[in-house]
């Protein structure tokens, strides 16, 4: 199996996050957090800088707490692979307001672009389907990415977007976790305990 992604990851993130409204965004560590920040920093973006494998589950916790809001998890193939069991957990949970978009470059970009399993033998969309996700999609061009944008805000969708392995300049979001958590809760209007 070869991953033949060609899409510019920043263009993909900018398209998916355009006019975010009150969308709640969780980004996985590494480049997806830079991509989300480059698309426009906002308090309702919660960037992970660590906790690898946890992005989707952070999204689930938010989605269960905020039933009337949409949650989008934007992460990479390596991060999703580390939390692959969470695809089963989320499929079995009652969270129709959660969607996941995986920016798949088939590489571990932060550590020297070593090939990941999605460039070897693993198809994450097929994994999600086997876990019970009824809506899955794979996008390979920008028209398909544009078509994903509304679906990610309406459906319980697991989407894989084949992006180019090119490394882009880092666009660093805030990395103080307490600050990120506090501003997220304030923007949501969660009362301080």
């Amino acid at each position: 199996m070869r991953n033949d992604g060609t899409l510019d990851r920043r263009a993909v993130a900018a398209a998916l996050l355009r006019d975010p409204g009150d969308l709640l965004v969780v980004s996985g560590l590494g480049a997806p957090s830079y991509d989300a920040a480059a698309a426009g920093d906002r308090p309702l973006n919660f960037y992970l800088w660590g906790a690898m494998g946890g992005a989707a589950m952070v999204g689930l916790g938010i989605a269960l707490a905020q039933r009337s809001r949409r949650v989008l998890v934007l992460t990479g193939d390596g991060e999703m692979l580390m939390g692959m069991g969470s695809l089963a957990t989320i499929a079995a949970a009652d969270a129709p307001n959660l969607a996941i978009a995986v920016l798949d470059n088939a590489r571990y970009g932060e550590t020297g672009s070593q090939r990941s399993h999605t460039g070897l033998t693993t198809d994450l969309a097929a994994v999600a389907a086997a876990c019970g996700w009824s809506a899955i999609a794979t996008a390979r061009d920008m028209a398909e990415v544009e078509a994903l944008r509304p679906r990610l805000r309406q459906e319980r969708l697991f989407a894989v977007i084949r992006i180019s392995p090119d490394e882009l300049p880092r666009h660093l979001p805030p990395r103080d976790g307490a600050h990120l958590a506090d501003r997220f809760r304030r923007a949501l209007g969660v009362p301080t305990d």
Partner: protein, 172 residues
Amino acid sequence: MTQPSWQMQVYAALRAARITQLAYVPDAGHAQLIEAAHADPVMRAVVLTTEEEGIALTAGAWLGGERAVLLMQSSGVGNCINMLSLPVNCRIPFFALITMRGEWAEFNPWQVPMGTATPAVLTAAGVHVRRADRADEVAEIVAASAALAFESAVPVAVLFSQRLVGAKVFAK
């Protein structure tokens, strides 16, 4: 009127602490809590494939304005360590109830290493550890530990001793 079981007293303490999400890796010692959570329309019970998923879930619950608890047994503690950087770094409350294995009439030697290491490993990762040994003290310890976790925004784990929970019996 008979006293509710200590397990149901613990469940009442979780509700009194306004916890509305309960994530778990199944464990016989937590079975009553898990059943109570699934039967309770207020509680969202989430079964996990591995314990560290629950660290991330409980952090998300807090970000979304709810309180969550994670149930596991001591063998799962080792799976959680890196993920604990999330609540620690983000100053997000973390609250876990952990049934102990490997310390009291344990039949299975594979449970002993992680059971022995559990308090030290949690402490090293920044988690405040409390321990309940007797049925008449569990609910109070859970209530006080939940208050510590959620009011002071720190990670807290309560260990339920194997003597309290009852050693698993392996029929031969």
